[in-house]
Every structure is written in structure tokens, then in C-alpha cells.
């Protein structure tokens, strides 16, 4: 899961990068409306965490621009103003959820997972395919009821594939979801993660479509 955090406070922004990262997400942080527009224009995100009061404008403007482009990326608003009118303006402006500062990091993570799940049209929180269960909250993975120890990146690759099991995910798409801008991506990183995953959850769980990408193998 790749998340864009639009927050001008450096300490909070840094905290969100680290905190949401602990929850298995890749986080990119920007501090202004202009930078947010630029980030949204160049990369796809699973969700956006948006502060309302930004130095060069209101987060609501970014939100309106996003919805104006028919971009349905889920958005969680963060704001220090918790007047009801502000909440209504935020939700009517196209936000999926709303949190007042200061908030609980775990609650923010849960809300982000919820809006992402809703956006992908799933009802259940836990991803299931064949005998594999992935809980996005705890990042715990079991195969036929037996817990499997996976690295953070491995869980993220698996989650990306399991969200829409029948859809092909290209290598570039997976890379983008795994790595933020500042991170160096080794050219064969995705292949390595998929290889390791197969070793841990079963050789035939993930199918490779040569030249196109990866998907979960239809369960027998």
C-alpha cells in the first residue's frame, strides 16, 4: 500500500512516514498543495492523508482538483479544526474519512485500510485466497491456518496481488507500491520478493505471466 501524506508540519509528517510504514505501507510526504499536485500527477497512491491547512492553500482545493479529475483515490482528511461545519465541508468536498488532530496512529492506519478496502469494493477486512489469509491490520499471514513469517515487503507484494486476485499486476506497478521516491529500487527486487514468497506460501500460489506481470493462481 502506497500512501501520500500531505502535511506541512515536519515532525508530524516524519511521524506519519515512520508510523504508517510500521503498518506495512510505503509513505511519501509532501508539505504544500503544489507538491501534492505534482506527486499526484506522477504517481498512483492507494490512499491520501491530507492536512487541511497548508502554507500555500487549503487541502480542500487539492481534494477538489483530485475529484475534478475523476480520481477516486481514497482520501482521509486531517485537521486541527474540528468544527462540524469543517467536517461537512471536507466530506462534501470528496473526502472518504476525517480525523481531528491529535489522533491515534493505529486509528489512522485502520481508517486508511478501511477506505482502501471500500474503494476496492471489498467488504471483508481480511484478504483471502485459496488457503491463504492476510490480515492487513496485523500483517499476519496464514496458509491453511498455519502462520507464515514474511518480511514487510513480501506482505506488501502479497497484499497487492490478493486485493484483486484475478487482475494482473505489472512489475512496475508493484515496484511503485513497494518503494517511495527516496528509496533505491534494485532492478530485480520484485522478482526476489516473489521468489521468496513462493518459497514460504507455496510454489504455485503466484502465477507469472511472462512479459505482463503476476497474479494469484486461481484456486483449484
Amino acid at each position: 500500500m502506497r500512501i501520500l501524506v500531505v502535511e506541512d508540519d515536519p515532525i508530524l509528517s516524519d511521524g506519519l512516514r515512520a508510523g504508517l510504514g510500521l503498518g506495512g505501507a510505503t509513505v511519501d510526504c509532501v508539505g504544500t498543495c503544489v507538491d501534492a499536485e505534482a506527486a499526484l500527477a506522477t504517481s498512483a497512491f492507494s490512499a491520501i492523508v491530507l492536512d487541511l491547512m497548508l502554507p500555500d492553500g487549503s487541502g480542500l482545493d487539492v481534494l477538489r482538483g483530485l475529484r475534478g479529475r475523476k480520481d477516486r483515490t481514497p482520501v482521509v482528511l486531517l485537521t486541527a479544526r474540528d468544527a462540524v461545519a469543517d467536517r461537512i465541508a471536507g466530506l462534501d468536498g470528496g473526502a472518504d474519512d476525517y480525523l481531528g488532530k491529535p489522533f491515534d496512529l493505529d486509528e489512522l492506519s485502520a481508517r486508511i485500510r478501511a477506505v482502501v478496502r471500500r474503494a476496492s469494493g471489498r467488504a471483508a477486512a481480511v484478504l483471502e485466497h485459496g488457503g491463504i489469509r492476510l490480515d492487513p491490520g496485523s500483517l499476519a499471514v496464514t496458509v491453511d491456518g498455519v502462520p507464515v513469517g514474511l518480511s514487510r515487503r513480501e506482505v506488501m507484494v502479497l497484499a497487492a496481488l490478493m486485493e484483486r486476485p484475478d487482475v494482473l499486476r505489472s512489475k512496475a506497478e508493484l515496484e511503485e507500491r513497494l518503494y517511495g521516491w527516496q528509496e533505491e529500487v534494485e532492478s530485480n527486487a520484485v522478482e526476489v520478493h516473489v521468489h521468496n514468497l513462493r518459497a514460504k506460501i507455496g510454489k504455485h500460489a503466484i502465477e507469472t505471466v511472462r512479459g505482463l506481470g503476476y497474479r494469484m493462481r486461481a484456486s483449484a
Partner: protein
């Protein structure tokens, strides 16, 4: 509490009474003079009339006693007449006249006390007939005549006074109605109803009061709005660092990586420092707000104040402070506490916008104030007019800024009667702030 109605009532009644009294006095004096004149003329005429009726002295009765002749009935009580021969015998007297001689004056008007009453007497001497005719009336009677006249005037007036009082009282009530209505309108208001009083309905005399109240309402409303805005901004500015603190604390607790935990703890420390400064600035701003308009101005040694203020502050490794020797002993007329606030916030502002470089405090060569300049990025020209607005944070805001520092510096300078001028340095990137004598 003094009642305007009672006061006006008393004034009006007193004034009316005074006017009436003066009128009565005037009428009294005027009438008295008039009555005296009329009665004196009457005396003269009566004396001459009697004189013309009297025959020669030889007409005395044979027994030598003076004859009494009856006077006209209307004169009976008021006028008395005596006829004396020139050699001092009483020839005749009217029925009511005293027996003693009314006057010793040979002719004309005279006054004399006879039998305990003062008489005014007119004497006519007729040498041919050898008689002296004296006609007199009692002054007491004259006095009573005037008094009766005055009483005739005053009695109805006194009877009218209660009615007049009632009329004045009722009229005052009617006349003061607009004031009462305004008071009722104001008394019935909610505490936050700051709408203007309808000036069209108020009479001209109450208009200044209504206008003054409307002006006050506007000021109170503006102050309230300002307070609400400040509170909203303060909430925002406090909650964001608190959110940062909480998030970093949760990261520190959740992570298993000691490096991540350490970084988070460092961030927590920074957040605490920053929140501490923010709270201090909020309190400073609140104190400046509350301090009002009565600073204690004195000549302040600016050099010493800057040195003292700057000394106590923690500086980043790369930043140093230079205080111009020309500032030593330089004085400005200011409120020392306010000026200290201004200096501290300007210095902090300068330091927070620089990674490395020098913050310089200088006296202006023309002696009109002092200035501080830094080697930070400066402020974009279009943001310069806004940076002294509370909580305004421009594009070059520092990571730890609150948007309050320059606002406090401006407020504090203004309180000291000084003005703040901000501009970007012409020689290199950086901000230059001047504190100028007004």
C-alpha cells in the same frame, strides 16, 4: 441613582416657581406704586373739593365747638378730613376722623402717626377763607389694598401648581419615552447580539448616545471575532505539534528497530521544544493583548537589552550573533518589557531561518532606531505585508515557526510607540527588520 425625570421635574418646577415669584414681586411693587399714586391723587382732589365747599372761618358754630360734617359713605372708613382755622382751632372734621391734628405741615403731603396709625395727609391752605383743610388716609389700608390684589393673583396660581406639576411630570414621561424604549431594547438583548441600534427611530438628543453605543458594539464585535480567530488558530497551531508528538511516541513504542525508536524520540524532544516555545508565544501575545494601551515608557538602553536577551538564547552551532558596538549605550524611549519581547522574537525569527550565518544587531546611523538582519532566505515580497499577521506562515516558514514571532514583535513595538519595518536585504538574501522611533 439619579432619575433624569425627577431632576428635570425639580428643575422645571423650581424655574416655574421662580418666574412666578418674580412676577408676583414685580406686580406687587408696580401695583403698590400705582395704588399710592391713585390714592394720593384722591387725597388731593378730596382736600381741594372740601376746601372749595368750606365757607369763611366766620361760619363756625356759635358755641365754638367744631362742626362735624358727614363725608361720603364710601370714604367713611378710608378717608378722614379735618378743617383747621389758620389760628389753630379745629373748625370741623369728618365722622371717622381722629380728634388730634392730623398734621403740622402747612401744606402738601405729609405722614404722621396719630393714635397708633400712620396717616398720609394732604393739606390745602386757604388764606382767604382762613382755613387749612387736611384729608388723610391710613397707610395700613393702602397696604391691605395691595395685599388683597396680590392675593387675588397668587391664590389661583397656587391652586394651579399641583395640576401644573402633574402636567410637567406626565410630559417628562412622554418626552423620555425614546430613552426608556432604547433601554428596554438593550436590556432585552442576548449577550452576543451586537446589532446596531436603529438610529432612525431615536430622537436627535439620544442620537449621540445611540451612535456611541453602536460604535462600542462594533468594537466589541471586532474584538470578539479577533478572539475567536486567535483561538481557532491557536487550537490549530497547538494540535498539530501535539499530533506530531503523539504519532512519534506511538512510533517509538511500536517499532522494534532501535534506530527508528531513537529517531522518533529525537523528534519528540524537538516537538516538545517547539510546543514550549509556541505556548510561551501564545502567552506573550495574550499578555500584550491584555496589557492595554498604557505602557510605562522610559529611556531604555537598547544595547544592554539586546545583549541580555540574546545571551540567554540557545543558538544552533553554525549561527552567531553580532551586536554592533554602536548599539552600546544607545537608548530608545520604549516600554522595556515590550521591547524585550520584540527583540527576543525578532532574534528567534532570524535564527530559525538560518542554518548558518550571522545575525546582526545594529543602530541606525541617523539615530532613528535600530535594526536586525539575518542571512536567511528573506521573505517573498508579496508576503511581506502579511507576515506580522498572527499565525501567518509563508512559504519560507521555518520548521519550528508558529507564525507568531513577527506578530508579537510588531505588537510589542507598537505598544512602545515604535514602528517595525520589514524588508529584504538589498545586498544579499536575508531579512532586515528595523525598529524605528514613531
Amino acid at each position: 441613582m439619579t432619575s433624569l425625570r425627577v431632576r428635570l421635574f425639580a428643575i422645571l418646577l423650581l424655574a416655574t416657581g421662580l418666574i412666578w415669584l418674580s412676577a408676583v414681586a414685580w406686580i406687587y411693587l408696580g401695583s403698590k406704586r400705582e395704588v399710592e399714586q391713585v390714592l394720593d391723587t384722591r387725597l388731593q382732589e378730596a382736600a381741594r373739593m372740601v376746601g372749595s365747599l368750606v365757607g369763611a372761618v366766620g361760619g363756625t358754630t356759635s358755641d365754638g365747638t367744631p362742626s362735624t360734617f358727614p363725608g361720603p359713605t364710601a370714604y367713611e372708613r378710608q378717608l378722614s378730613c379735618q378743617i383747621w382755622s389758620l389760628d389753630g382751632r379745629m373748625v370741623a372734621r369728618s365722622s371717622g376722623a381722629p380728634e388730634r391734628r392730623l398734621t403740622d405741615a402747612p401744606a402738601g403731603f405729609s405722614e404722621r402717626e396719630v393714635d397708633g396709625e400712620t396717616w398720609r395727609v394732604f393739606t390745602v391752605e386757604d388764606a382767604e377763607k382762613g382755613v387749612r383743610v387736611m384729608v388723610g388716609d391710613r397707610l395700613g389700608l393702602r397696604e391691605r389694598l395691595v395685599t388683597d390684589l396680590i392675593m387675588g393673583l397668587v391664590t389661583p396660581a397656587l391652586l394651579v401648581v399641583p395640576f401644573l406639576g402633574m402636567l410637567i411630570w406626565a410630559s417628562l414621561g412622554r418626552g423620555l419615552r425614546p430613552l426608556r424604549l432604547m433601554a428596554r431594547d438593550l436590556a432585552g438583548r442576548d449577550a452576543d447580539d451586537m446589532s446596531a441600534i436603529d438610529a432612525g427611530r431615536t430622537p436627535a438628543e439620544v442620537r449621540p448616545l445611540a451612535d456611541a453605543l453602536n460604535g462600542l458594539f462594533l468594537k466589541v464585535e471586532a474584538a470578539r471575532r479577533h478572539e475567536r480567530e486567535v483561538t481557532a488558530f491557536a487550537a490549530h497551531e497547538l494540535r498539530t505539534p501535539l499530533a506530531g508528538l503523539k504519532t512519534q511516541a506511538q512510533v517509538a513504542m511500536a517499532t522494534t528497530d532501535p534506530d527508528v525508536a531513537k529517531a522518533a524520540l529525537r523528534q519528540i524532544l524537538a516537538a516538545v521544544d517547539r510546543t514550549t516555545r509556541l505556548v510561551r508565544q501564545l502567552l506573550d501575545a495574550a499578555r500584550l493583548d491584555a496589557a492595554g494601551e498604557s505602557p510605562t515608557l522610559a529611556e531604555v538602553d537598547v544595547g544592554a537589552l539586546v545583549a541580555e536577551t540574546v545571551d540567554g538564547m540557545r543558538m544552533p552551532a553554525g549561527v552567531r550573533t553580532l551586536i554592533d558596538p554602536g548599539l552600546r549605550g544607545y537608548t530608545l524611549r520604549a516600554d522595556a518589557e515590550s521591547l524585550r519581547l520584540a527583540v527576543r522574537n525578532l532574534h528567534e525569527n532570524a535564527v530559525h531561518h538560518m542554518d548558518a550565518g550571522t545575525v546582526e544587531w545594529l543602530a541606525r546611523p541617523d539615530g532613528e532606531g535600530m535594526l536586525v538582519r539575518d542571512e536567511g532566505p528573506g521573505i517573498p515580497a508579496e508576503e511581506l505585508p502579511h507576515v506580522t499577521t498572527r499565525f501567518f506562515r509563508g512559504r519560507h516558514k521555518s520548521a519550528t515557526g508558529s507564525g507568531l514571532g513577527l506578530a508579537i514583535a510588531e505588537m510589542a513595538s507598537r505598544r512602545s510607540g515604535l514602528s517595525l519595518r520589514l524588508r529584504n536585504r538589498p545586498d544579499r538574501p536575508g531579512l532586515e527588520v528595523e525598529i524605528l522611533r514613531a
